[in-house]
């Protein structure tokens, strides 16, 4: 049925256009022969086509445009006619003889335009007459187009200031009066459309109305362009009159559109100076009007205006723009009980943007806006719909962007309260936005108090919130989130150790609530941050003697111990082990033997109890050995215990090569180059010999198991160890031992033709080359090498 209608409409339109063209043809012929009477007759007939009620606004417009073009020609003719001596007043009367009102009024407007141009009568009188006569068309669509035509032809003939039609009798007041009246009538017609026709076509009607809205809005545009409409006139006449019409029409479409029009059409400074009036109209609008968009637009414009130049800012202060806007928003929200939360949030968001632009120095205003938002949100509970949350994110991001400084934002007491109303996901998004802002601006957060506040904001990332469902969380996202938290840590930094300690404690407190999933991400940066503090203290200790500060390394180590312990719950024993070792090393640097010992103990316990995977064991063992080797703080006893244990572990590894390598690595535990107390050549040799035994065993096992001899790599590696200790001057490592080892390897390589291992061969070759090189270098070392034959 709709299609049918559309087809019919096409037909009607085509018929209308054809009739217009036909009559226009006769009209032209009459114009060419200067036959006024016929010209009027045919033009009236042509215009009669506009009397149709069958077309939708869209199609009617097409028809109207055809007629409009023809009327331009007619107007030209009228102009010539008056030049030929036909008085305009006669012409003005003559066209009014037409029996049908619509053609009559179109002709009247056309002649009226000529009449004003001729200046035979004051423009004001003609305009007044025209706008008055047009009342005869009460049909909305036809009336709107007629008045739009009137507006069009009169536009360049208004007695505006500086216009040629301005005179003693014609002032801009008349021009304004005329446009206002036309506007009022058009709006009435436009609103009336809503109430005509069956209820079931409401949607269609609304669509049609929106197609027509610009016809109405154009009047405001004309007003906006009148030179003579200065602030005073705008304030005294234009705005009150327009608003009166807007409010009284009680039509949501019109109210929304026209408010928007007013905001867009008139200059910002006018808005600023009439803010009270303009805002005063808002609560009076229909409850269904999308007032939030209107106000948002206004605030956006004002914000931009404020941003455009600093000179206008005093104006804002002078008119108390903030107070007015905020008050008005409050009233609107109060008045429109049904306004969705989205609307309120949008409003506050716009107000916030405005505040940030206009009063960047007034944090209390910003906080006030957020507070109002909280109040509104508290009545609604958690936000569910995505649009509102998006809007809140925008709201919360605005201060961050403006101040580029989270520290300022942290001063806003209502900020976290707003965040509480976000759903968990959005909360996280927001938290990331905050973190990114901090990272981007490299904002250093230097007090524990602020850190507390910040963590209150980003708590969505720090711990599981109520009702958080894990299965929703994407693994990647989770990693990303936690990594950003980890990155954030480096920005939480104070030069004052006491304060830093407080920060660390605070962080620890928060992180420990994070649950096993987060700890592996959050604990390491915390540990390193603490270690950094320790090293700093350590540096300072040398300068300040006997200080009684609360932030002593000892204390921090205690903290660390407990912190790392938390990881065992995860479990993340490998990570914990590494951290323990790191701490041990730090303790070593601080000369805190018991502490270091404790950390090692913890590491060993982890090794024994938690690390079962052989690969992990190898790695862990090497780490332990490496760390232990560097640790110098231990007394003989403690060291013995630890080294002994380590050596013991190495012998118990599963795979022979691993065993071998661990054992020869342990040799270093007995020989620390820069420490005279730890140079136990004998035990070094023992380790190496044991390593050789194991290598031998490994090769035999390989022989048995795979029918070929294993690689000689292990032997070459051991040879290298020999050479190292040989060079270091370990008396137990003799040239003879090295010599025999070389021969052993050579034999092995020669005997083993089956499985060539080029890497091992190359390794051996380069080791030999090294020996050769040392020999030739001369000096004491060369002498030592002299006895070794290659």
């Amino acid at each position: 049925m709709m299609v049918e209608r559309a087809e019919d409409e096409e037909k009607w339109l085509a018929a209308g256009i054809a009739a217009i063209q036909q009559n226009a043809f006769y009209m032209h012929r009459a114009l060419d022969s200067n036959n006024l009477r016929d010209a009027l007759k045919y033009s009236a007939q042509m215009l009669s086509e506009l009397r149709t009620s069958r077309l939708s606004p869209h199609k009617y417009y097409e028809l109207y445009m055809r007629a409009f073009d023809e009327l331009r020609k007619l107007e030209m003719f009228f102009k010539e006619e008056t030049r030929r001596g036909c008085s305009t007043i006669d012409l003005y009367e003559l066209v009014q003889h037409a029996g049908n009102i619509l053609p009559r009024l179109y002709l009247l407007c056309t002649v009226g335009s000529v009449y004003i141009k001729s200046k035979e009568a004051p423009a004001k009188d003609v305009l007044k007459d025209l706008v008055e006569m047009c009342r005869g068309i009460q049909h909305p669509l036809r009336g709107l187009f007629l008045r739009s035509y009137l507006s069009q032809v009169s536009r360049d003939k208004l007695p505006d200031i500086g216009s040629e039609y301005e005179g003693d009798a014609d002032t801009v007041t008349d021009a304004v009066e005329f446009v206002l009246q036309n506007f009022t009538e058009m709006n009435k017609l436009w609103v009336r459309m809503q109430h005509q026709g069956p209820a079931r076509e409401k949607e269609k009607r609304e669509k049609e109305r929106s197609e027509l809205r610009d016809l109405v809005g154009k009047n405001l545009h004309v007003l906006g362009q009148l030179e003579g409409v200065d602030l005073d006139m705008y304030k005294e006449t234009v705005l009150p009159r327009v608003l009166e019409q807007v409010v009284n029409c009680k039509d949501e479409i019109a109210q929304f559109y026209l408010m928007d029009c007013i905001i867009q059409v008139f200059p910002d400074e006018y808005h600023l100076q009439t803010l009270e009036t303009l805002l005063g109209a808002c609560p009076q609008l229909q409850p269904s009007v999308d007032i939030k968009t209107v106000l948002s637009q206004l605030m956006e414009r004002l914000s931009n205006y404020a941003a455009s130049s600093a000179e206008v800012l005093p104006e804002f202060l002078q008119v108390e723009a903030f107070a007015k806007l905020s008050n008005s928003i409050w009233k609107v929200i109060e008045a429109q009980v049904d306004m969705p939360i989205l609307g309120a949030v949008t409003l506050y968001s716009s107000l916030l943007t405005f505040t940030l632009h206009v009063h960047p120095d007034r944090l209390d205003y910003v906080d006030q806006v957020l507070g109002a938002c909280v109040t509104k949100l508290s009545s609604a509970g958690k936000l569910e719909d995505s649009k509102s949350t998006k809007q809140i994110v925008a709201l919360l991001s605005a201060p961050l962007e403006k101040y580029n400084d989270i520290v300022t934002v942290l001063k806003l007491s209502n900020y976290p309260r707003v965040m509480e109303y976000l759903d968990n996901r959005t909360n996280k998004v927001m938290a990331i936005v905050i973190i990114q802002s901090i990272m981007k601006n490299k904002t250093c957060i230097a007090t524990a108090e602020k850190v507390e506040a910040l963590f209150e904001l980003i708590k969505g990332l720090i711990k599981d919130l109520d009702g958080d469902l894990h299965d929703e969380v994407d693994d990647e996202d989770f990693k990303e989130e936690q990594n950003s938290v980890a990155r954030l840590l480096q920005m939480l930094y104070s030069d004052d150790p006491d304060e830093m300690l407080l920060i660390i404690c605070a962080l620890r407190k928060h992180f420990l609530t994070g649950g096993p999933q987060r700890l592996p991400y959050t604990i390491p940066p915390l540990v390193f941050s603490s270690l950094k503090l320790i090293r700093k203290l350590q540096g300072r200790d040398q300068n300040v003697v006997g200080e009684e500060a609360s932030a002593s390394p000892k204390k921090i180590f205690q903290l660390l111990n407990q912190t790392i312990e938390a990881l065992s719950a995860v479990p993340a024993s490998e990570l914990a082990l590494r951290l323990y070792l790191q701490c041990a090393e730090a303790a070593n640097d601080c000369d805190l033997e018991p502490v270091a010992y404790e950390f090692f103990t913890q590491a060993y316990i982890l090794y024994e109890e938690e690390i079962a995977d052989s690969k992990a064991q190898v790695t862990a063992l090497h780490l332990i050995v490496g760390t232990l080797q560097r640790t110098h703080v231990f007394g003989v006893e403690n060291r013995d215990t630890l080294t002994h244990k380590a050596t013991g572990y190495s012998a118990k590894l599963l795979k022979k090569p691993d065993q071998c390598r661990a054992v020869y690595a342990c040799s270093h535990l007995f020989w620390v180059d820069d420490q005279d107390s730890i140079r136990d050549g004998e035990r070094v040799l023992l380790c190496l010999k044991r390593a050789l035994r194991i290598a031998n065993a490994a090769q035999q096992m390989a022989n048995v198991a795979r029918g070929g001899s294993g690689s000689v790599t292990l032997f070459v590696e051991i040879l290298n160890k020999y050479l190292y200790f040989f060079e270091k001057g370990n008396p137990q490592i003799t040239a003879a031992a090295i010599q025999s080892l070389i021969e052993l390897i050579t034999t092995e390589i020669q005997s083993d033709t089956m499985s060539q291992d080029p890497a091992a061969d190359a390794f051996f070759a380069s080791t030999l080359r090294y020996i050769q090189f040392q020999k030739q270098k001369g000096g004491a070392l060369a002498e030592k090498y002299e006895s070794i034959k290659v």
């Binding site: 009397r51 009367e93 009014q96 003889h97 029996g99 049908n100 009102i101 619509l102 009559r104 008055e132 006569m133 009342r135 005869g136 068309i137 009460q138 049909h139 909305p140 036809r142 009336g143 009435k188 009336r192 005509q196």
Partner: protein, 305 residues
């Protein structure tokens, strides 16, 4: 000229001319046969003077019992065709009985003639009336029928601006459906006048389609039980298009000049009246018509220029 022309060749030509014929205003007059001729225009109390020229047809003599000229004011009812009622009849004897051999000119004059009624031409054929002024030249003959020649002229009588001219204002309506108040600025309009007014809609519960203002002429003839009334709509002028709502006011501006109105005639010689009415018609969506008719007076304004 005359319907006898074709049948008999008249023995002479008769022509009537006026002394100020060249300068006097001529107005169109529609004759019975539909022909429109230009005839001179007079008003009451004017002198009507001129010449009658009688020219016998070549070589013929016209014997007559006397020549006279009559000025007749006549009313002819269409339902009583051919029966003229003379309300004015003036006679001037132009010649004593005798014979006419050659062209002869007779001057004549009717001075300050009382012509109280205007010429009026009703249009309806079936029943209408015809009030006219005519000069009748008669050449009386003994045994033949008289030779007569008619010269029509038109009389217009002018009225000064009325001293009292109240507006027509009225509130009408259908209870709970439609209440309007209309106002015409005057009750008396001259022929080139313009009717200005307004219609206020006080209550609208009917869906209107449009509104027109009609000018209607009512001719009534006869009297008592034999009164015949004929109404004719002279103008249909659309005032409003679409459906107004309460509180709207619609302007009226109707120029009378394009319509062929005559002044209002009240009881002309007890024979007929011509009255004018403004008929305000509202048409609703279902083409029902609601109307209110108001008489207004039309007069011929004495042009001062």
């Amino acid at each position: 000229m005359n319907f006898l022309v074709g049948a008999f060749k008249p023995p002479c030509n008769i022509a009537v001319s006026f002394v100020d014929g060249r300068t006097r205003k001529q107005v169109p007059l529609k004759k019975e046969n539909g022909q429109v001729v230009k005839v001179p225009l007079f008003q009451s109390q004017e002198n009507i003077a001129g010449e009658v020229i009688i020219e016998p047809t070549q070589g013929k003599k016209v014997e007559h019992t006397g020549v006279k000229i009559e000025l007749l004011g006549q009313i002819e009812m269409y339902f009583d065709r051919g029966n003229f009622y003379d309300f004015t009849s003036l006679v001037r004897e132009l010649d004593v009985p005798g014979e006419l051999y050659e062209t002869k000119t007779y001057p004549f004059e009717f001075s300050t003639v009382e012509m109280p009624y205007e010429s009026y031409n009703g249009i309806n054929v079936r029943l209408s009336l015809y009030g006219r002024y005519v000069l009748k030249v008669t050449i009386g003959r003994n045994y033949l029928s008289n030779i007569a020649e008619y010269q029509d002229f038109v009389v217009h009588n002018y009225t000064p601006l009325p001293s009292i001219n109240n507006s027509i204002k009225m509130e009408v309506g259908i209870e709970d459906c439609l209440h309007i108040e209309f106002e015409y600025s005057k009750s008396k309009y001259h022929l080139k006048d313009v009717i200005v007014g307004k219609i206020y809609f006080l209550l609208v519960r009917i869906k209107m389609k449009n509104m027109e203002l009609e000018i209607r002429r009512r001719e009534s003839t006869g009297s008592g039980p034999n009164t015949y009334v004929e109404t004719e709509t002279l103008a249909k002028f659309e005032l409003m298009d679409g459906a107004p709502v309460r509180g709207e006011s619609i302007p009226i501006r109707l120029f009378l000049s394009p319509y062929e109105l005559t002044p209002t005639y009240r009881n002309i010689n007890n024979k007929f009246s011509v009255k004018y009415y403004l008929n305000l018609v509202l048409v609703d969506d279902e083409d029902r018509r609601y109307f209110k008719q108001q008489e207004f007076t039309v007069y011929r304004l004495l042009e001062t220029s």
